[in-house]
Symmetry: C2
Subunit: 148 residues, 2 copies
DNA sequence: CAAATATTGTATGGTAGCAAACGAAATGGA
DNA sequence: TCCATTTCGTTTGCTACCATACAATATTTG
């Protein structure tokens, strides 16, 4: 018998559900192409905006340096992305799609509707409020903890 | 100079932002106690509901078997949770807080407001719709991909 | 200019999550 | 009863995320 994944354990409350459900959907689709969802975002950005310095890509996709660094290294290992030094600033790395990367991108089904469903439809005002509440709560707690 | 974490890289779109922001807040607070946010949820459940079979805990917190298994093993390693065999079903493991686990729980600040802010206030109808859309999209894509 | 500081990317180690495969135990049907 | 199936927990291997620390390079300041 096939030992398939549990279906009784979906994910927690709604932000978690929407976030992880969207990721799960993308992952399920991208598994056929041996790609992760964040890897897809990187290819997406490079395919639409052309070569990019790693720093800028990180800001655009709102990923931590360290996180992006890992993602990029696996994409380089898969020969989908190339990392060259950008002439100007010797610290920066310029990212470009390789031929294989462009070929794969053209083969991929259009996932932007997933992106929209899972991550779109944002109520920016509500988001801003939530984030502000969380931030001030963090600060209060941090202050309290420092005193202990 | 202190090499602190980037602050320019918050997280992506709003589900991601809310989900990860909530986790980040809990993690920042719990770091002082060497606890992760999901570990906190486990202690929380055990402290409020008493001993629990691992299967039931998994369903209550909506965690995958494999995910929970890992979490439990680190909590056992930290001697906060005990895993005994539940008399009836020899496959099941009964989880209880150890003395150290209860002591730690009593020391922890109340994080339920974070839980509420980050994960509460769910519009269940909207959630259900979103999840349904995502699921049918998954199925459509899976079918398409199987045919290729 | 030299020294202090900031920025960029990398590496390490941790948490959290999922899929797949496995053993052990329970259950259901022929 | 016996065999197939299901359930429960674990393990392995992967993605993704963060914090921390570090080297290398830029930039700012004295």
């Amino acid at each position: 018998m096939r030992d398939q994944a549990d279906t009784d354990a979906s994910v927690g409350a709604w932000t978690k559900r929407c976030y992880l459900a969207g990721r799960a959907l993308m992952d399920a689709t991208l598994r056929h192409y041996d790609l992760g969802s964040t890897q897809w975002y990187v290819l997406w950005h490079l395919a639409h905006n052309g070569a990019s310095v790693q720093r800028d890509l990180g800001r655009a996709l709102e990923l931590e340096r360290a996180t992006l660094s890992g993602i990029i290294s696996t994409l380089v290992r898969k020969d989908l992305v190339e990392q060259t030094s950008s002439g100007e600033d010797q610290r920066q790395r310029l990212l470009t799609l390789t031929g294989a990367g462009e070929a794969l991108w053209r083969k991929l089904p259009d996932l932007s509707f997933i992106h929209e469903t899972a991550f779109g439809g944002i109520d920016e005002a509500e988001l801003a409020t939530t984030v502000r509440v969380l931030q001030s709560a963090t600060e209060r707690l941090q202050t309290l903890l420092r005193k202990v």
